[in-house]
């Protein structure tokens, strides 16, 4: 038998089965009995009072907060189903504890099953797997084509794509704003593409 509270007080005493009956247990018992007789307010009050007890059962066993909340809701539904089994005058603690532990074991089983299916992604995994060979692109000498681009576009491409400078570095070096550099690179690449196509068409 699991007492509702582990902290006995002077008003606590042994129940008919020898288990600890606390004032809180008696209060819950009264609410539960009233709920069985159709008092919906008492039922709501009982369920609200049961939530911290249920949460305490699951805390420490269920790591993820979402699993704990899922377990609490599952147990509330189980309490709703098991409500007709409570006998007035009997301690609430063992009744509530049995249902909560039963739902906890199901919740843990679901958690273990999920863990068995899921795995943490290892970033270093890709390095250990041989990668397929990628065909090298045909080499094209872009020098003559670059020289055909407007000065601003050519400089932007050289700094950002050839030398590998950051936008900020290129902006400081050229005195051109970052936005203007982006536009220049975009237009320069489009221009290069056109020149390359023409070049291939002609031979």
């Amino acid at each position: 038998m699991v007492p509702l509270s582990h902290h006995s007080r002077p008003s606590d005493r042994a129940g008919p089965d020898g288990c600890l009956v606390t004032d809180k247990d008696e209060d819950l018992g009264r609410l539960l009995t009233a709920a069985q007789e159709g008092d919906r307010a008492a039922y709501g009050a009982f369920l609200r009072a049961a939530v911290p007890v249920v949460r305490a059962v699951g805390r420490g066993k269920l790591a993820r907060p979402v699993d704990l909340e899922d377990f609490v809701q599952d147990t509330l539904l189980a309490l709703h189903q098991a409500l007709p089994t409570f006998q007035p005058g009997r301690p609430v603690g063992p009744w509530l504890g049995t249902i909560a532990r039963n739902r906890l074991s199901d919740a843990l089983r679901r958690t273990y099953r999920r863990r068995a299916m899921e795995t943490e992604f290892d970033d270093g995994l890709a390095d250990t797997v041989p990668q397929p060979e990628v065909d090298a692109p045909p080499s094209v000498n872009l020098g003559p084509l670059l020289s055909q681009l407007p000065e601003r576009q050519r400089l932007a491409i050289e700094m950002l794509k050839v030398k590998g400078m950051s936008l900020k570095e290129a902006s400081e070096a050229s005195g051109v704003s970052v936005g203007a550099l982006k536009v220049a690179v975009h237009r320069g690449i489009a221009g290069l593409r056109q020149l390359l196509r023409k070049d291939m068409d002609h031979g």
Binding site: Y43, L77, A78, A82, P88, P91, L96, I99, D106
Partner: protein
């Protein structure tokens, strides 16, 4: 995922799902009365055994029958106790001493009446093909219907015990009706068969006794 307070509001607005169940002892008595009803039903086509007035004077027969009934009732009580959360542990095990004592009495009877112990009917007639299924399956169904209204905290054990309880009732009822099923060895085989069947079919309890999966978000 619905909020806990929203779920509480919905459940409390819905109110209790069913009326309070009677205490386990009353539920057991109701099941026992229904099972006796099934035995009476079985006597309508087979009648009571002809030598009933004679065998009731035999202490060993009375002890065997009494222990069969007590074992069945205590197994039923244990099954009902499993369906009520927070019951005392001994209530779930109390049927075991009764079953062990029943086996001891059968063993002793077998030694006292060595000839009778080996009076085995044909293998096809280990059980009455009418009385046994009617009483055992019927009483197990009555018990299952009662337990489905309670809490499925231990479905596998609940299933095993309800089958043992139903089988025990059938052994008791069958021997009130038939006079050719008294051999202690036969009864021991019947009991072993019931226990084995109970263990084999126990996992079905997970399908029969389940927590309802309601929609948490509500309408």
């Amino acid at each position: 995922m619905a909020d806990v307070s929203h779920l509480i509001d919905r459940l409390s607005a819905e109110g209790p799902s069913a009326r309070r169940l009677p205490p386990p002892v009353l539920r057991l008595l109701r099941w026992a009365v229904l099972s006796v009803g099934l035995m009476l039903l079985a006597t309508t086509w087979h009648g009571v055994r002809g030598d009933l007035s004679l065998v009731v004077t035999r202490a060993d027969w009375l002890a065997e029958q009494g222990l069969a009934l007590v074992t069945a009732l205590l197994a039923g009580f244990a099954a009902i106790s499993f369906s009520v959360p927070g019951r005392r542990g001994w209530e779930r095990l109390i049927w075991l001493p009764a079953a062990a004592f029943w086996m001891l009495v059968l063993w002793e009877s077998g030694h006292q009446h060595e000839a009778a112990a080996h009076e085995m009917p044909e293998l096809v007639h280990l059980f009455c093909p009418w009385c046994f299924p009617v009483i055992s399956i019927g009483s197990a169904l009555f018990l299952a219907a009662d337990m489905r209204r309670a809490a499925p905290v231990a479905p596998v054990r609940m299933m095993a015990l309800l089958l043992i309880a139903g089988g025990g009732m059938a052994v008791f009822g069958e021997r009130m009706i038939h006079d050719d099923l008294d051999a202690p060895l036969l009864v021991a085989i019947q009991v072993m068969a019931i226990v084995m069947l109970g263990i084999m079919l126990a996992p079905l309890g997970r399908m029969l006794f389940r927590w309802r999966r309601a929609d948490r978000s509500g309408p």
